[in-house]
């Protein structure tokens, strides 16, 4: 348990504030109270017990501030509160709330600090704690980095327990029965004789009692829902076709807009002729926005048609026009002057590489789009003294602040309504689409305007996963891997993204080498060096950033060395690995797949890979068959350890979904740039995995890790090297560049 958690728990005090007609409680955390944003809007007879629970005479509302883009975090937040509060999460209202410092994310910045994730030493611990306090003070509210459960679970369990004990105290005051004789179940306080009082009936009473100062959390063994299969709060609506997404929003008098921006990112707007577009049916206006033109119409399709009819000269942006030239920039950046980090340097790599027989390899991964199935959209209503935004976002506080700056209003006059998202995979950690929608709606004060991107706009104006190059050297002797030296070369993702929406954390860009420097192997001579290439096109966080590329490089090269050494890919990994939690997932995947080496019969192949990312070790084994028409992926076994699992059904979904994500993009996806823009602009050229290609999937969560960690990303990184390893086993051909279908067909 980190020192911060100890401090936080010790200072976890509950204070109260008297407000008209209700009661509210704030959580005091570290040295500074976090105000309760629910206090401002409380009505008569309403109680806001902690920033996460609000009770009125009619209903109970949970504030679930982490954005749901399909990873199921809305449901998990609700169950965490509900477990301690004793109320069915399907019976309460779930509200994402307004962006507020009470909902800060303390983990996302501290996780990017340049320390090994398994290093619990004084310096990393102290600096991480300081970074979490900075995050708290800045009030930055983020959903990302698989950080939601690790960052929030204690706060949500405490919120539920605090609310429960406070309601019991109110019931005790009303009935004269001592608190110790009161029980709770299904949203009711239960009296000794079995009579029940609904929580909603106690909302007013809660205003008149002293708040409960400290609460004990229940032992895991007493959990009713957590840790056991339970129904996600959004499953029923999503199965009946009743779930609304941001793109589905409809408001009275709403207009529909779209954007056509310079396909060259940041190239600005040249001369244009909008006369044909303006004359089209339903078009209300054509206006200039940042880097392009917006079209407002009375129907989305009409807006799309008019945008396509615009005649525009697009000035060239300030990066190379083609992928070939961009690769050249990366190759040329592989010089001493561009060294950004060397966060692992064990043994004496230079000495080990001199004189010995050196094995070398070079690996490449392309730009990749997020291409969430719901195209980006946002609806905005600008009025004299307020602006209201409806959209799916992982950074609501950044949208609020940007909207205030753009409109000249105060942050308090900006409302950001977070809406369920149809995927994201990191794309909605940027807010460019929402700022564009604000720009457009500002030209129509008083009228709500929904701005929707076409799929082509969405893929052309992504902040994709960066182009990434690796060069590796190593030695083997006596059947063992002796030396592993990897150079990882890419523009700085951290600098790109943090600069756009937050503050750039101190030190080197750790995302550049996530998955390369931080693996729990103990190779005698082991070095990982990050080279920062110049910025090219703007890049963003893509499911398992850094690790999604570096795991392919690191594990592929490790497999090559092990092959040269003549060792077993599993046994040699186990021999090199000291961390017991990581060993546990390797042993688990071996057991699940009946591992007996990579050779599983003629025309078939088996591969293995491991990656420790987002504090979660994951090992995967892939089996393939070489058919007459190409490679068929038969099975994938996935073993991981995220510690305590709150929702096992969704955890399995995340493990499987992440692995399919990793396999699908490795098979057939890339963004290739020509004339400053990607030539792949829709799913016909960027398919990912389809159902007929999907292997059988097998998962196991070991549950031995001491921490609670999220699972949205970690299983995606080891999938591509495991597939490449299986293809090598089946064909003898080592694929060192994605997508693999440039070299081999898939069925």
């Amino acid at each position: 348990m980190s020192r911060l958690r100890t401090i936080a728990r010790r200072t976890f005090l509950i204070g109260s504030a008297a407000v008209a007609g209700g009661v509210a409680f704030g959580i005091y955390y570290v040295r500074r109270p976090t105000p309760n944003p629910l206090l401002a809007d409380l009505g008569q007879g309403e109680a806001a017990i902690t920033p996460f629970v609000k009770i009125t005479g009619e209903k109970i509302t949970f504030i679930v501030p982490r954005s749901d883009v399909g990873q199921g975090i809305m449901s998990t937040q609700a169950y965490l509160i509900a477990e301690e509060l004793d109320v069915d999460p399907h019976s309460v209202e779930l509200d994402p709330g307004q962006p507020h410092e009470a909902y800060f994310n303390g983990k996302i910045a501290s996780n990017s600090l340049p320390f090994h994730p398994l290093d619990e030493g004084v310096v990393p611990r102290t600096v991480k704690e300081l970074m979490e306090i900075v995050a708290r003070l800045s009030g930055a509210q983020f959903t990302g980095g698989s950080s939601s459960v690790s960052d929030l679970y204690e706060r949500l369990l405490h919120a539920g327990a605090t609310a429960r004990e406070t309601i019991k105290l109110a019931a005790s005051t009303r009935t004269g029965v001592s608190v110790s004789e009161l029980g709770t179940e299904d949203g009711h306080v239960v009296l000794p004789g079995g009579d029940r009082i609904a929580y909603t009936d106690l909302a007013v009473d809660a205003a008149n009692v002293d708040p409960v100062q400290s609460v004990d959390l229940r032992p895991h063994a007493q959990w009713r829902w957590l840790g056991k299969p339970h129904l996600r709060t959004d499953t029923i609506d999503k199965s009946l076709g009743l779930q609304d997404f941001g793109i589905d929003l409809r408001l009275p008098g709403m207009l529909h807009a779209t954007v056509r921006a310079n396909p060259g990112r940041g190239g600005g707007l040249g001369a244009y002729d909008a006369s044909r577009a303006r004359a089209m049916r339903g078009v209300r206006s054509v206006l200039e926005v940042k880097d392009g033109l917006g079209v407002i119409a009375d129907n989305t399709w009409r807006a799309f048609q008019a945008a396509a009819a615009l005649d525009v000269d697009w000035p060239a942006p300030d990066y190379p026009a083609t992928s070939a030239e961009m690769w050249q920039v990366l190759e040329e950046a592989h010089t001493e002057a561009n060294i950004n980090s060397r966060l692992r340097d064990d043994g004496d790599v230079d000495a080990a590489l001199s004189g010995a027989e050196i094995i070398t390899a070079e690996y490449r991964v392309p730009y990749l789009a997020h291409a969430a199935l719901e195209p980006l959209s946002a609806t905005v209503l600008v009025e004299d003294d307020q602006v209201t935004i409806w959209t799916t976002t992982q950074v609501p506080s950044a949208i609020r602040d940007a909207a205030a700056e753009m409109t000249g209003l105060d942050a308090e006059q900006v409302t950001v309504n977070a809406v369920m998202g149809g995927g994201s995979f990191g794309r909605r950690l940027d807010h460019d689409y929402a700022l564009q929608a604000i720009e457009i709606a500002m030209t129509m004060p008083g009228t709500p305007v929904k701005t929707t991107w076409s799929r082509e706009e969405d893929m052309t104006h992504d902040f994709p996963r960066p182009l990434h190059l690796a060069r590796a050297r190593g030695t083997v002797s006596d059947g063992r891997v002796e030396t592993f030296d990897i150079d990882s070369i890419s523009p700085s993702l951290a600098d790109n993204w943090f600069r756009r929406v937050f503050i750039v954390p101190p030190g080197p860009d750790t995302l550049l080498v996530w998955g390369a420097y931080d693996q729990p192997y103990e190779i005698p001579n082991y070095r990982a060096t990050g080279y920062r290439a110049p910025d090219l096109i703007p890049i963003g966080s893509w499911r398992s950033p850094g690790a999604c590329s570096n795991a392919f490089f690191h594990e592929s090269f490790l497999s090559e060395l092990i092959h040269e050494a003549g060792a077993d890919p599993l046994e040699e990994r186990l021999r090199l690995m000291a961390d017991p939690i990581s060993r546990g997932v390797l042993e688990a995947v071996a057991e699940m797949s009946n591992w007996s080496g990579p050779n599983i019969g003629p025309g078939r192949g088996r591969g293995i890979a491991f990656c420790h990312s987002h504090h979660v070790p994951v090992a995967e084994v892939v089996d393939v068959t070489l058919t007459e028409r190409g490679i068929k992926i038969d099975d994938i076994w996935i073993a991981a350890d995220c510690g305590t699992v709150f929702d096992p059904v969704n955890a399995e979904a995340q493990l499987v979904g992440g692995a399919i994500w990793g396999l699908g993009h490795a098979m057939n996806c890339e963004l290739t740039y020509e004339n400053y823009a990607p030539i792949q602009t829709n799913y016909h050229a960027f398919e990912g995995m389809r159902l007929y290609q999907c292997p059988r999937t097998h998962t196991r969560l070991a549950g031995k890790a001491p921490h609670v960690q999220g699972l949205g990303e970690p299983s995606s990184a080891p999938a591509s090297p495991a597939l490449a390893d299986a293809i090598f086993s089946a064909t003898g051909r080592r694929l060192r560049e994605m997508p693999f279908n440039k070299f081999i067909d898939f069925v």
Binding site: V69, G70, Q71, G72, L231, R232, D234, T235, I236, D237, K238, S239, L240, G241, Q243, D244, F245, I247, D248, R250, H256, R281, D298, N299, T300, W301, R302, F304, A372, L373, E374, P375, M420, G422, G423, F425, T452, S454, R455, V649, A653, V656, G657, G658, A659, I660, W661, G664, N682, Y683, H684, E687, G688, M689, R690, L691, Y692, C694, R696, T697
Partner: protein, 152 residues
């Protein structure tokens, strides 16, 4: 022109070449068919026309001849289609954006083939893209629903 959607008649005044998807979503407020690609590559916009699944993003409204049904006609919370029950039991959805299209496509599969094999499911369902990777649960849910429908 006149359209019948989920048993309700509508009169719309739109261009002949407006895709049915945008008539449903922006003119009639029927938003369960989703916009994903606009070029019939993802299947999120799938609706039935006289019971036949169609990609509404690539279907000009003037070419629609027959009754349009969406997932609203398939089942409700009180009376769900066996596929919807299976989708809930297996907790198929992650983001859920593709799932109305998946279910509409699967409903046609089961209407024509009460006992689909793995290969049948692969053949019929591979035009519906899911970026979250719910395919293993889609397969399992279709098989469960097929079994439930054969029993009744």
């Amino acid at each position: 022109m006149q359209l019948t959607v989920d048993g309700r008649d509508y009169e719309v005044d739109v261009e002949d070449d407006m895709p049915l998807l945008w008539v449903l979503r922006d003119e009639l407020g029927v938003t369960s068919p989703k916009f994903g690609c606009g070029i019939a590559q993802c299947g999120a916009c799938t609706v039935h026309i006289d019971g036949v699944p169609m990609r509404s993003c690539q279907l000009a409204v003037a070419d629609v001849q027959g009754e349009i049904t969406t997932i609203a006609s398939l089942g409700t919370a009180a009376d769900p289609h066996p596929l919807q029950t299976a989708w809930i039991t297996h907790q198929v959805a992650q983001c859920g954006y593709c799932q109305t299209g998946q279910i509409m496509q699967a409903a046609d599969l089961l209407a024509l083939n009460p006992d689909p094999s793995d290969a049948d499911i692969d053949a019929v369902m591979s035009g519906n893209l899911c970026r979250c990777g719910t395919y293993p649960r889609i397969r399992a849910a279709i098989k469960d629903a097929a079994q439930a429908m054969r029993r009744t």
